[in-house]
């Protein structure tokens, strides 16, 4: 057995066509321009890191004097995330049914529901918060609504996908005996999609807790307000306490969520 002798020379690279070549050059040029446009320079970084160092220095030791107030705000933040998330999940469910292949009552309704979910998902929650602060005023209520809308977009999509992916057999068996649409959905589809629903819900809550901190920065209530005030007053050691408290809350929620996930799935 001998190796076949190469009869022709094979090029190492495909020859790029003109369009690919032009697009590649343009993309690279844009990248270079982006670097220069964001004002990131070696000199600035050299100045920035020591400054960051001095801020960190002034953060420690963290000031625990305002701890009770901080913990109260932290609780409000968590409750804001929880309520917004629960409301969002509750509303995401029917919207997901309207958006799911095979469950939606009409193709037009399906497209509308999908469009709404996509819109809710693509507009960042911070933008929703700004809108709701204007609509309902400063405070946690605005945060709750921003989180709710964001979670409708997030969970709506995953709920719909989960319901589309289940085994169709049980649905068809029930449809053949004349079961109603709600019968199919709640007896055949939801039980199969449940593990996925739970995973999405827990992940939504984690996301909501992380997100709710930021929302306070635009006045939508909770610990973010405290953080902004502390920074505005150059009160860096109080800010440190807040950041550590937020960090602990996020870690705690993720841990609990992992436990729940493991137990239920």
């Amino acid at each position: 057995m001998s190796l076949p002798s190469p009869a022709v020379a094979v090029p190492r690279w495909d020859r790029p066509n003109a369009l690919t070549f032009i697009l590649t050059v343009l993309a690279l040029a844009f990248l270079v321009w982006s670097f220069s446009n964001v004002g990131l320079s070696w000199e600035r970084m050299q100045r920035g890191f020591p400054a960051l160092g001095s801020i960190l220095d002034r953060m420690f030791p963290p000031d625990l004097e305002r701890l009770p107030q901080i913990l109260r705000s932290l609780l409000i933040t968590f409750q804001m995330a929880l309520v917004g998330c629960v409301l969002g999940l509750i509303l995401a469910f029917p919207l997901a049914i309207l958006a799911a292949d095979g469950l939606s009552p009409h193709p037009v309704i399906k497209q509308l529901a999908r469009g709404l979910i996509a819109f809710f998902r693509t507009v960042p929650d911070l933008v929703w918060a700004l809108l709701f602060v204007i609509a309902v005023g400063l405070g946690p209520a605005a945060g709750v609504m921003a989180i709710m809308v964001d979670k409708i977009g997030f969970a709506g999509r995953f709920f719909a996908e989960a319901m589309e992916e289940v085994d169709k057999g049980p649905q068809e068996a029930l449809a053949a005996i004349g079961a109603t649409r709600s019968g199919l959905i709640f007896s055949a589809v939801v039980p199969q999609a449940l593990p996925s629903f739970i995973a999405t819900s827990l992940f939504s809550l984690e996301k909501a807790v992380r997100g709710s901190v930021i929302l306070g920065l635009v006045g939508a209530g909770g610990i973010g307000v405290e953080l902004k005030v502390a920074f505005d007053l150059f009160d860096y050691d109080t800010a440190a306490t807040i950041i550590i408290a937020v960090f602990l809350l996020v870690v705690l929620v993720e841990q609990v969520s992992n436990r729940v996930r493991k137990r239920l799935l």
Binding site: G169, P170, A176, G178, A179, G183, S187, P191, L194, P195
Partner: protein, 267 residues
Amino acid sequence: MALALALPDESLIEALTPALRIQGLRKAFGARTILDGLDLEVEPGTAVALIGANGAGKSTLLRMLVRLIEPDAGQMTLLGEAVTELAPGPLRTFRRRVGIVFQRHNLVGRLSALSNVLHGVQARKSGPRTWLQALAPAADRAEALACLAEVGLADRALQRADSLSGGQSQRVAIARMLMQRPEFILADEPDASLDPRSGEEIMDLLYRLAKDKGLTLIVISHRLEHTIRYSDRIVGLADGRITLDRPSRQADPRHLRQFFTGRDHEE
């Protein structure tokens, strides 16, 4: 009184009217004719085994009886209903009276056997109390449990369906079909995905249930011996028509074998 005497007894009328009458049934998929003017009559309470080579159109015929597939031409009367003429609403109501067992059992794996059986009640009712056994009214729960007992699985009621064997799953599917309170049973290779022994048990179960309840049964099986043993009458489909029709007792396996070609069947 005199009038009542002059009229035949109701059960007598029932016994004289065929449970199923098919006349001139036609179906083609594209250029391919599957059913070519098929005629068939079935007396109430008969267990009919439908045999035919792979691709002969057995499944097509069975599905057409409840219009899961629409015929091109012909008449079908099932349980006194002119099936071909039913509007969507009445068709739904009619389908509730016909129990179907498929090759795939189509259970919801994450739910208990009992909840799966309870789902059969959706042929008659709707609402949250038909979704889960835990939510069901006492009477429905008891009926579902009785249906499970009929297929010999009462002791598995709360076990998750995905923890059951293939044969047990098919039994649960049959119990769900019983929960529907069917008047007619259609079974399309209920034994196909099972080992020969579980397959035989399923065929035996269906036959016994049909006999006990006086239901009419049409069953397709690709196992020759089971087909003969668990039916009253054997009907063979070939070239789009019924080309063989005889009591199962008189069936000669040598004549039947030609209907089982084109398939690697175990016996």
